[in-house]
Amino acid sequence: MINDLFSAAFMLAGSLFMLIASMGMVKFPDFYIRNSASTKAVVLGVLLILLGVGIHYNDTMIFVEIFAILLFIFLIAPLAAHIVSRAAVITEVGFWEKTDLKELEGYKKEQDKEAKVTKVE
């Protein structure tokens, strides 16, 4: 009885986090803020839902599997966000107008230099 209550609460909290993050997709102003918000909320949401599943089944093998899934999610979700945002910077997806871009100029220069070198070769 109390197990069911706890697992339901965890799963509900996880899916609520995901729902709020997907509402953020509509509200946030630019690509980079959307990307960072969705990554965080989705990782926490998956963690909470899997905890709820583990409480419901209460079995050793399920706990081991949940641990493995969480390990991979924690490794891969930030990696995917990093690669997508890097591609966005290189292809010059626009920033929000309030963004302070002073310190990105060094990166831009580096990219330009690289492009020139490859053209000469």
Binding site: F17, K40, L44, N58, F63, H82, V89, T99, D100, Y107
Partner: protein, 168 residues
Amino acid sequence: MVILINLFVAVLMTWFTQTIYPGIPNSGFATLLLFAGWNALLWLLTYFLSEHSFHRSRQIGSLVLFYLKELLTASLRVAYEVLTPQDHMQPAVIAIPLEAKTDFEITLLANFITLTPGTLSIDVSKDRKILYVHEVYVKAGDTEKVKRQIKEGFEKKILKITRNPNQI
């Protein structure tokens, strides 16, 4: 290395105790408790073998807890930002000078930065000395404060674990 051996032996010992004493219930939580107990016992035992790895395991544990706490606050902050009508966002791209040198250290730092409140790691420069980070909450253009927070929070903790002179 010691922490991996510790975990492995704890798994074995949990299995043994469950097969030897059939009175222990075979449910998930009982197993988890047993595993945690064996881990704590073995951790205390390493104190007599090498004090250094004892403190190292403690640091790794505290880093994991800190990471989970940061993830929770990050998600709550996103939820707050979505559900309140006005926005407090003041984004900026920040170039953080890196002290971490090896692949492992930089990967760990970048992954941790992506899951902490308001930040997203974009790229490392060609000579691996600068990490470019997109940060959403920069109060009054004070980028130095954000840099200090990241360098003294995560980078210090990670370097303390990965760089130790007498590693076993």
